[in-house]
């Protein structure tokens, strides 16, 4: 038994060693940035944030939670203990992040949520994001117009249903489609933002409904899976072709812009990333200096563009530049 106590004591001692806390210098502004995951869109968001933080002559302390709410809480707690000036986070779990935001603010550090809105917006110092509902609605209205009152079978791919963007891009599309009883949603496929699941869902839908008329891909990475299936079935045809399947996507990444330029999709709704990042950084810095942030939440609708106006719109679309 004595040896067992020794082991228990050793295990506890490894975590309770004497400590010496070094507070970070308060002179420079360091913004702790916590991402929920890394994927192509997030890489673009990180670049936009990095540019905005550099432009503001601040420093960035970056952490990726890799789709783990517990890790994100731990990373933010560590940033707080290291004395960052403010936190900008893309929350993975929009419920868990409420308490994370409140405890961060209680420690005297502003908490700005970016892109993904928390379930309780009052928890944060400031939220800036796209407007997933407006984007879903624009997509729905486009399908209504494309269907032109005729029978229209639509495949709805859904993003992650555990986060705000996934939920509202789906719900508001469905709301917009209620005005058109001629449009039938043949399948709603939750993909958890996984292109492989988008591929599977498209394949299954086309197998069951060879007369499929439209596909809603609520994020650009889904297009990889969609195009793969369409190509295999000789249905990857340009806009204007009689057999073309109407496709609407959201994000505005280089992949989406290329698809528009190649006339493979009918409508793309680009999230205004650089502007979102600029406002997030400005709010974080202002709040860290004691300034009041108003309004507390802003939702920037996406910028719709298609094959016919992509040249004119390219300068406004971050994914079309470079």
């Amino acid at each position: 038994m004595r040896k067992a106590y020794l082991q228990i004591g050793l295990a506890a001692a490894l975590l309770t060693a004497p400590t010496a806390f070094d507070a970070a210098s308060a002179k420079d502004i360091t913004i702790g940035v916590s991402f929920d995951k890394i994927e192509p869109f997030r890489v673009a968001e990180k670049k936009a944030l990095t540019d905005a933080i550099e432009a503001a002559h601040a420093k960035m302390d970056f952490a990726n939670a890799d789709k783990d709410a517990q890790r994100q809480a731990s990373q933010v707690d560590t940033m707080v203990s290291q004395g960052v000036s403010a936190i900008i986070a893309i929350p993975w779990d929009i419920e868990a992040a409420n308490d994370l935001a409140r405890s961060t603010i209680a420690a005297g550090i502003p908490f700005v949520s970016l892109d993904q809105a928390l379930s309780d917006l009052k928890s944060v110092t400031y939220h800036i994001g796209g407007d997933p509902c407006a984007d879903g609605k624009v997509a729905g209205e486009f399908f209504v117009k494309a269907a032109a009152g005729k029978p229209f079978k639509l495949l709805e791919l859904q993003g992650g249903l555990a986060n705000d963007n996934g939920i509202r891009r789906s719900r508001c599309l469905d709301d917009a489609l209620k005005a058109a009883p001629n449009i039938t949603i043949v399948a709603q496929v939750p993909t958890d933002w996984n292109p492989q699941k988008a591929l599977d869902g498209t394949e299954n839908a086309l197998q069951a409904h060879p007369d499929l008329a439209g596909i809603y891909a609520p994020w650009n990475d889904a297009l990889q899976g969609v195009f793969s299936v369409l190509k295999a079935k000789n249905l990857l045809l340009p806009v204007g072709d009689p057999k073309h399947i109407t496709i609407v996507s959201i994000d505005g990444t280089p992949l989406g812009c290329k698809a528009v330029r190649d006339r493979l999709i009918d409508l793309e709704i680009a999230t205004p990333l650089p502007e979102m990042s600029r406002r997030a950084v400005a709010a974080a810095i202002k709040a860290s200096q004691g300034g009041k942030i108003e309004p507390q939440a802003e939702f920037l609708p996406g910028i719709p563009y298609g094959p016919d106006n992509v040249k004119a719109m390219a300068s406004k679309i971050w994914g079309c530049q470079g």
Partner: protein, 328 residues
């Protein structure tokens, strides 16, 4: 039932001396890594960061200790992540509906125990393959959690949940106390009880255990029961810390727990290992996870380092085991 051997096998008996502690494959790695990170990262050994690490460590260690029981049997339980998710959803809903934190915790532990008992009964008595059966439970439990919540997390829990999850007692986070208690109980159970020793003996050689008259079914049932129960308790720790439960909350815990068990030196083939080894493995996982992050490494660099440590650590453990036991 035939008499048990009068003393545990040589490998088990030697596992608790100080000399044997140094033979734990990951302990030297842990100490070196901890020292190196302490020197190179400002604030790594600050009270706040250590408390933070302890809260990350607790649910991982608890789930991994549960998995250790199954590994000692020479089996695997792929369902722990999904069991954790489902338990967290049911527990969080209970907390929100009743405003009782402890009722929610009991529901989480009971959910884990129930699924663990079902796993154990099916695998022990109906001789299902543990790999295939628990894979089925992994998929089903996650789907049920999704069905219940529609994919959403369950938050807005009573304030007492978060107060406990982030609170401390005698300077240490409450969650760490729970992990220490679980470790102590598991360690004593495996060392001091007949059924605990039978678990390792069954894992070392099931055929011999049958011929020796050991209660093989009971041992297998108990292993999976403990694994499920501790997955439920790990869910409680996470829910209490985050203030929410969710259907994808446990998605990452399975691989992390396997890493902790394997790094600690418990054999994937059964019969060799224990709770203390898993604690060292979990400490390595948490220390590297936190340290590499604080060093500013990109996530893919962190994943590469973690992967290398798992491969090299398990190889080192295998090598030391063969040396100690004289096996080829």
């Amino acid at each position: 039932m035939a008499d048990l051997p009068t003393a545990p096998p040589r490998v088990m008996r030697r596992g608790v001396s100080l000399a044997a502690l140094l033979k734990l494959p990951m302990l030297p790695v842990l100490l070196v890594a901890f020292l190196a990170l302490s020197v190179s990262i400002d604030g790594f050994v600050s009270a706040a960061n250590l408390a933070n690490m302890a809260r990350l460590f607790a649910p991982l260690a608890i789930a991994a200790i549960g998995l250790t029981f199954v590994f000692l049997l020479g089996e695997i339980d792929l369902s722990i992540g999904s069991v954790l998710s489902l338990a967290s959803v049911l527990g969080a809903l209970t907390m929100r509906g009743t405003a009782s934190v402890w009722l929610g915790v009991m529901v989480m532990v009971a959910t884990g125990a129930l699924i663990g008992a079902l796993n154990g009964a099916v695998i022990a008595w109906f001789r299902f393959s543990a790999f295939v059966y628990t894979l089925g439970v992994l998929v089903t439990a996650r789907a049920i959690a999704m069905l219940i919540t529609g994919g959403h997390s369950v938050g807005r829990l009573p304030f007492g949940a978060l107060r406990f999850g982030r609170g401390t007692f005698a300077g240490l986070p409450w969650l760490l106390w729970i992990a220490i208690a679980v470790y102590a109980a598991a360690h004593l159970f495996l060392r001091q009880t007949v059924i605990g020793r039978e678990i390792a003996l069954v894992g070392a050689n099931r055929r011999a255990a049958v011929f020796a008259g050991l209660r093989v079914r009971r041992a297998r049932f108990t292993g999976f029961l403990v694994s499920g129960t501790l997955a439920g308790l790990a869910a409680s720790c996470i829910v209490l810390r985050l203030g929410s439960g969710g259907p994808i909350l446990g998605d990452n815990i399975l691989l992390m727990a396997i890493a902790a068990v394997v790094l600690g030196g418990t054999s994937v083939f059964g019969g060799e290992g224990g709770a203390f080894r898993t604690v060292t493995g979990a400490l390595v996982v948490v220390t590297l996870d936190k340290g590499l992050n604080l060093l500013g490494l990109a996530f893919y660099d962190q994943a590469i380092v973690m992967g290398l440590v798992i491969v090299l650590g398990s190889a080192l453990g295998g090598y030391l085991y063969r040396r100690r036991t004289g096996r080829a």
